[in-house]
């Protein structure tokens, strides 16, 4: 099986857009004809099938990405005689003497700092920096940020006493 990265990006972009439009179409039809109408059911089926295809393609793209990183790490390990590093451990790559975070006055854990570090690390690989790779790295940062945000929100809602500094009623909650 071989699908170029550009094809994956095209398919995911196309299907993401199609899913939104199909869902909107299903809602419009349902609001006019009712949820039990055959046309509404057909629209819901189409939206569902788009969702399934999009999910499968995203999974295939993710598998390809993971296997690609694993191979790269194995090659590096063979060259240096060390153990492979974890796939997400971007800080193991050579970094500039002055980090972007320090230069920009950002916290070292800021997503932009991590993104730039990962991007610079990618520049040292054989493939260099590509648009596709850059978009993928940014998407990873976005996904990671969203996961962390949702986790923090769940923790705050479940254990509000652990966050006394946020207990101020005038303060905006998550």
């Amino acid at each position: 099986m071989y699908i170029p990265e550009a094809d994956f990006e095209y398919l995911i972009r196309t299907l993401s857009d199609a899913r939104s439009r199909a869902t909107e179409l299903a809602v419009s039809i349902g609001s006019r004809l009712g949820t039990e109408h055959r046309l509404t059911e057909l629209a819901n089926t189409a939206a569902s099938n788009i969702e399934i295809t999009l999910r499968d393609i995203r999974n295939a793209a993710a598998e390809k990405t993971e296997s690609g990183i694993g191979l790269k790490d194995l090659q590096q390990a063979l060259q240096t005689g060390t153990q492979p590093v974890a796939p997400v451990q971007v800080t193991s790559s050579p970094l500039p003497a002055t980090s972007f975070a320090a230069a920009a006055g950002l916290d070292a854990e800021h997503w932009l700092s991590t993104f730039v570090d990962a991007l610079l690390a990618q520049a040292h690989t054989a493939g260099g920096i590509t648009f596709e790779g850059t978009e993928r790295l940014l998407q990873q940062r976005k996904d990671e940020f969203l996961r962390d945000f949702l986790t923090a929100r769940r923790m705050y809602r479940t254990y509000p006493r652990l966050f006394p500094e946020l207990a101020d009623p005038n303060r905006q909650t998550f």
Binding site: M1, T14, A18, T45, N49
Partner: protein
């Protein structure tokens, strides 16, 4: 049901656009992965369901237009 023909024409147009915009997904996957791959089959099922929706919407819209000639038999 209170449906205006203009509204339904818009829905029909959107469905047709959706069909044409996603038409190359299954053909691309077929050319890359072959007919039997599960991704290709999922995409073909998706394409078929969108085509069915667009076709049924066209039919429904035609049946809602009393001034049209009766070249189509209303299934409802």
């Amino acid at each position: 049901m209170n449906i205006y023909p203009g509204e339904f024409n818009e829905l029909r147009r959107k469905a047709s656009e959706l069909m044409s915009d996603t038409a190359d997904v299954s053909s691309l996957l077929r050319s890359r992965l072959g007919d039997q791959h599960e991704l290709t089959r999922a995409a073909e099922q998706m394409t078929a369901s969108i085509e069915t929706l667009a076709r049924e919407l066209r039919s429904f819209d035609s049946s809602a237009e009393p001034t049209l000639t009766d070249t189509y038999q209303n299934p409802y």
